[in-house]
Structures are given as structure tokens and as C-alpha cells.
Assembly symmetry: C2
Homo-oligomer: 116 residues x 2
DNA sequence: CGCCTATTTAACCTCTGAGTTAATTAACCA
DNA sequence: TGGTTAATTAACTCAGAGGTTAAATAGGCG
């Protein structure tokens, strides 16, 4: 997972409007009009948000006459989620190793008596 | 997981320098100097990045004389990762239901013969 | 064709984010 | 006490994100 891909994904996910759009799309395809409806925001603004989502690969767009229906694409979400959870796992493994190490130290100390 | 929390987390993760700092911290605590070392960037710049990470709850800071060692905090990473993967799951369940529905349609069609 | 609908592009504004250098605070050390 | 190291704050620049309105494009429809 290259860094600029993560950049694009996390940047796209950082905006609440865009997350709301994704939430809406999780219920199925929608046109720009439909997506814009819940927001107090102009159509061009929504159009820009969609472009950000598209560049991040989080949505793809079809064509239906003059409509450009959007659909959710989950691949980048998976990558981002896995990145985050991989990180958590790394950290927890490290804590475990640290814990083992401390216990080992304590064991050694018992054998040779308290240091101080 | 409130929206502004996700905002802060994803915003913090959107920057490659900050992700690199987190990666470094996954190997253990580090001071600001140590964190700054790999980057061609001034200390105040790093200091600002750390503030962003701290506000997002992704790091916490201790005190050791004049040093302010940073340590990784995984809670927001977990939340963000779970958010992303929950989303993926929702979508895939939806696809499954859609699939069931299509198969049901096809079954009905067989019983009453092709429509056209 | 001429009009209506859906969407994008253009041009612009404003605010924020990432970076800078210079100055300040905080804590140790001789 | 004065000097040095670690880190932050202040004041500034610059670019880009997110928003606007108005104009342009694309594709039915009478």
C-alpha cells in the first residue's frame, strides 16, 4: 500500500460530508442530485467532493443518459482499515514482547535475589 | 464513534510525515529530537505535527527533564480501522442480499418460463 | 430545433494547514 | 549564576481545500 494511495484515501475520509456520501452510497447507487439532496450545499460543491472520492478510488461512476450514477468501491477502505489494524497489531505484539522481557527480568532477579 | 473524532483521526492520518512518525513510535517511545531526525524539516514543524497527533489522541506525551517523550496510543487507530471495515462489511452484506434476490428472481422465472 | 434536466467547468473568495525563522520557555549542568 | 539543550510559541508566507455563483456542456424530449 503505497503512501500516496493512503494519502488520498485518508484525505478523502477526513471530511464529514464525504463520509456521509459514502454512507449514503452503501445503500446503493445514487445520482449527484440524490447525493446532494441532504446537504445545505451547492451542486458544484458536491461535484468536487465526488471528484475527491473518485480520485481516491472510493467511488466509481457510470452513465445513465445525463446522469452519472455513483457506486461505492470498497478496495481502498479495505486497505486503509487493514493498514490501521495492522499497526495496532504491531504495537500490541511489541507490548507483549516487552511484557515477556520484564517477566524474564523478574525471574532472573528471583534467582539471584533483589538487586539493591 | 462521533464524527469529529473520525475527522481528527483521519485528518491526522492523511499526512505522510505523521504516518511516518507513528511508524517510528510503533518501535517505542521517542523524543521530539529523535522523531525529527529522519526528516528534512525544522523542529517547529515536527512539533506541530505532534500537536495534531496528540489532539487526535494518537499519541500521548510524558516528561523526562526537558524532554517530552511521545508514545503511540492505538485507540483511535482501532476506531478508524473498525469504522472502515464495518463499512466494507455492510457493503458486502448488501451485495449478498442483492445476489440472493437475483437468484430468487431467476428461480421464479424458471417456474413460469422466460418472460419475453 | 429549442428547451429542460443533470452535471461539470470557470473564476473567484476565504480560511486553514504545512512550512519557515526568530524568539521564548523549561530544565539541567558546571 | 550563566550557559546549553529540548521544545514550544510567535509571526509570517504560500498553496490548496472547500465553498460560492454564473456559465458551459451533455443528453433526452415535444
Amino acid at each position: 500500500m503505497p503512501s500516496d494511495r493512503l494519502d488520498a484515501t485518508f484525505t478523502a475520509l477526513a471530511d464529514p460530508t464525504r463520509r456521509a456520501i459514502l454512507a449514503r452510497l452503501a445503500e446503493g447507487e445514487a445520482t449527484v442530485m440524490e447525493l446532494a439532496e441532504p446537504f445545505a450545499m451547492s451542486l458544484p460543491a458536491i461535484s468536487k467532493h465526488l471528484k475527491v472520492l473518485e480520485r481516491a478510488g472510493l467511488i466509481s461512476r457510470g452513465r445513465d443518459a445525463q446522469r452519472r450514477p455513483c457506486r461505492l468501491e470498497t478496495a481502498p477502505l479495505k486497505e486503509a482499515g487493514e493498514w490501521a489494524e495492522h499497526f495496532v497489531r504491531l504495537w500490541e505484539e511489541r507490548l507483549d514482547r516487552l511484557d515477556d522481557y520484564l517477566q524474564e527480568l523478574q525471574g532472573a532477579e528471583k534467582k539471584q535475589g533483589p538487586r539493591k
